[in-house]
Symmetry: C2
Subunit: 170 residues, 2 copies
DNA sequence: CAGACCAGTTTCAATCTGCAACCGGTTGAG
DNA sequence: CTCAACCGGTTGCAGATTGAAACTGGTCTG
């Protein structure tokens, strides 16, 4: 146990790593939104993270081995952020946090569809999703099932449904 | 969706409630340590929370309906904090956070035994634990199995093992 | 009635947060 | 070649949050 830790409790040590208001948001956007560049993470996120906070968190998450950073071969000053095995193993944590949030917070329909599918899919789906993330981020062989695709198309379907409803309302 | 939220994403909304360095620590101590009073939470916790922070978090968690507070009939100025149904449903979240922490952080042996048992016990054990917590905190009928007892005695066994080892070392 | 115990509160310095403006370098279109 | 858009950040600053330490007003016990 390295000095500077408050205790050797697994919950505490985990919170020391990801127990703040932004770290998991950043990892979520890389994981579920496949946002890999600084600008994508900044513009794309619903929560409008400030650039200095994002820069700080990216640096920190790379240090903690929850993200890795490499140069984009297609563009000299573009950086690509990827998940690591450690952050891929956060999938069950995200699933449980999402499941809890869906029951106990005022979630929006479009943004909670992924949490719902992940909850209904259970550990088997999480495992398939993790295998796919290893393919996307770590260069592992592509698995047969694309959970990412399932989640993404369900999300887009919900967004379309919302837009249609908004249209009829006018 | 109430104003003031950054977004309607379940992950984000959950983090807005419990995504800080102390809230889950406090709930953990009530849940796994059965610490119900201010002084117990303050003295007992490994992480030595400051009294003003603890007071602030308790107030906030009560507002968020993650804890409830009532007077202790045996002592006019003693307050008893209890889990609510919402926080009892955080059991799977704690289980996953603990499981992740055990793999990816430098946990201590004694403090990680509970996380290990909870991980090995799986969802069936979580369910039994939640039933027991409802008995302890919400006055539900006492279930047959005491997961709390299993966790506690395993922890004490580990502490004793550590003390014995320290003794022989001298 | 003294001393321990109770749940906090106060004070203050240090750190962290988040907004807005800015930076130098890179790229692609004309 | 020029220029505008884009790249991943950095800087400056005000306000909020954190955390250590001392303290408060009240209650219970011997």
């Amino acid at each position: 146990m390295k000095a500077g830790h408050r205790s050797g409790c697994p919950i505490n040590l985990t919170l020391e790593m990801i127990g703040d208001r932004w770290s998991l948001i950043v990892i979520r956007d890389v994981m579920f939104g496949n946002r890999r560049h600084f600008r994508e993470l900044r513009r794309g996120s619903e929560e409008k993270i400030a650039s200095n906070i994002l820069a700080d968190r990216l640096k920190r998450l790379v240090q903690l081995d929850l993200l890795s950073r490499r140069d984009d071969p297609s563009h000299a000053q573009k950086a690509i952020y990827s998940l690591t095995e450690s952050s891929i193993q956060l999938v069950p944590v995200f699933a449980q946090l999402g499941a809890w949030g869906r029951r106990h917070t005022p979630v929006s329909r479009e943004l909670s569809i992924r949490a719902r599918l992940l909850e209904e899919g259970g550990p088997a789906m999480w495992k398939d999703f993790m295998a796919e993330l290893r393919a996307i981020h770590l260069g592992a062989p592509q698995p047969a099932r694309s959970v990412f695709g399932e989640l993404q198309s369900a999300y887009l379907r919900e967004v379309a449904r919302g837009a249609r409803a908004a249209g009829t309302r006018r």
